[in-house]
Amino acid sequence: MHAKFTPEERVFQQEVREFMTNEFTDELAARIRHPDSFREAMIEWQKKLDAKGWAANGWPVEHGGCGWSATKRSIYSNEMALAGAPDVVPMGIKMVGPVLYSFGNEEQKARFLPATKASDIWWCQGYSEPGAGSDLAALQTRAVRDGDDYIINGTKIWTTYAQYADWMFCLVRTNTEGKPQAGISFLLIDMTSPGITVSPIISIDDEHHLNEVSFSDVRVPVANRIGEENEGWTYAKALLTYERTALSGVGYCKRTLQRIRDYAANERQGGGRLIDDPDFQARLADVEMEVTSLEYLELRVLNAVDKGGAPGMESSLLKLKGSDCQQAVQTLYWNLAAAYGGVLPGDDHQNVSGHAYGDQARREYMFGRATTIYGGSNEVQRNIIAKFGLGL
């Protein structure tokens, strides 16, 4: 049992670090931060990763994946996080990608996989509905067969980045009889189809990430259905597992803790430095220990996967603990920023507050409230672990 890197792994680490330093420029970072340039800049970044062969690193090698060991995956995401570079937008490469190569037919794979890898398609996820949040199987959006098409009517909600999306992967009801889980199909929907309306939802961080997407007699070719009719739940469940593994956010936590330590070393409190305050230290240490334990929990899961174990209930554990850790880090960041975190950005924000990070601390705290809600709320994760993990 050891956590050391081999010489080859060290070379890899150096390669990733250099790539991030050279390619993730301050200019690119600034464009990603700004809502107006976010989409274009993210695609540019993902294309850089793809050019290096890393965009879809977790996919099977035959579809352009890297076949990395757990150690290499951990090195990659660590270096990425430490450079402050964002991972790819998850909906394409991390969510629908695995469904496509696992359950799609040859034509679908050929049409969508390379384009997804190259970020030529921006995907969004059409799962939640106003009446079906954590109880996903209660979804009501109807797809009625009409010749070679389905006709879709209904509403999806909390759809992240729908305003940017070219395509949506979507769960629809093709049968209203039997158990709610039966009768669901998995469709790929062109967002330019007539009858789709995307309406923004403003979040409590005052940003526009989320949308409501409504369908009024939208035609979707049957050829865009993944797998069998009424079997969509099976594919979605497999996807949820991937999604949860993608959600631990340990890299984000580590990077933010690094920032917090740096800022706290410069923050003055009365006479001294905040980082020397025993109460602040105790609070910081509590969070750091939780994050280290999350990091090793994730590494243990990845290690087990390397040895042939499939991510099952552990992925729920990672989602649960990961979202708790992210919120704990965000709370600490907010504590650090204190009243300066409450100042909304003005024309001259940095000068005004004297604390450039106050604005970031507040946004991340606010944005992070959703972490324990989406992707299956933490309450649902606990139900899943109780049932499948503990046999209750």
Partner: protein, 370 residues
Amino acid sequence: MDFSLSEEQQLLKDSLEKFVASEYSPTQREKLLHAPAAFSADHWQTFAELGWLSIPFSEEQGGIGGGIVESAIVMEAFGRGLVLEPFVDTVLLCGQVLARSGNASMAEQYLEPLIAGELQGALAWQERQSRSSLEHCETEAKRQDGGWLLNGEKVLVSNAAANLLIVSAKQGDQVGLFAVPADNPGVTLQTLKLMDGRDAMNVTLTDCQLTAEHCLQEAGLQLLQQVVDEATVALCAEAVGAMDYLYQATVEYSKTRKQFGQPIGKFQALQHRMVDMFMLTEQCRSLLVCALCSVSDNSETVTEDISALKAMVGRYGRQVAEEAVQLHGGMGVTHEMNIGHYLKRLMMIDVTFGDADFHRRRYCNARYAA
């Protein structure tokens, strides 16, 4: 020992609750956020007419001689409705420093318009390096030509509508308190928009000249601490009002929102968490009662009791609001639903006049120091 309200106090409470119920629906409030200085000048006039602005002043000063309990009654009602008008800043901070400073000329000049609703006030104490410490003040006051010259910078001063600033400034070894009209040519103001919808400002004092009588107290730290302490109790009452709203709104939402074929309020795990929200609210209310009695009785443990209250409200206020967001699910994270606005206000209350950790340490220093 008696925790009940007098008849007058009960009447005051009723009239405040009536005002909030009729004037502070989420839609009405949303409109006020876009008004100048982010509150309603009309409401402020109503407060003056109803006598609310005169509550904590003595009868000689034109008030009705109310105490900390009356202030808490006002702020708890305001907390339930997320009322935006700057009662704490103008009446409890600026007004009380004026009223208690012993400077009759300033009191005479400013209290009457304040009580009449014609003057807005603010307390400018915080500085970039001070964090939550009242005494760590680097703004300087120097005597000059029989008057005073102030230089320095104050940040995050609440109430951007203020006509009169109470400024703390170091003079020699002491912290003096000064009444500084906002239109003094030595004053530069920069407005900041805060996450809870309010407007604050940074204040720069550059060779700001004041007459001798504008010095309220040359050694004012004790008065400053006392006024801030009592305003802190009022802020905590506001927080208790907000927490009360939040747990009740969450319970009501859980009775209507269905998942897995039943209202989510039927799930035992969520029931137990709502019980905890209720319990945390009642705990904060209990320490509020303790602090109110302690201030009213001028108890020896008043510092500990106020810091215990602020520490608990800071921690549990945010916890209750976070739980309310979580149990509202997706709806909880939208700007449209008011739950998130309560969260933001409770977060701001936590970081005003020192957060939970700051007050726990102050409690320890008061209680365990050798």
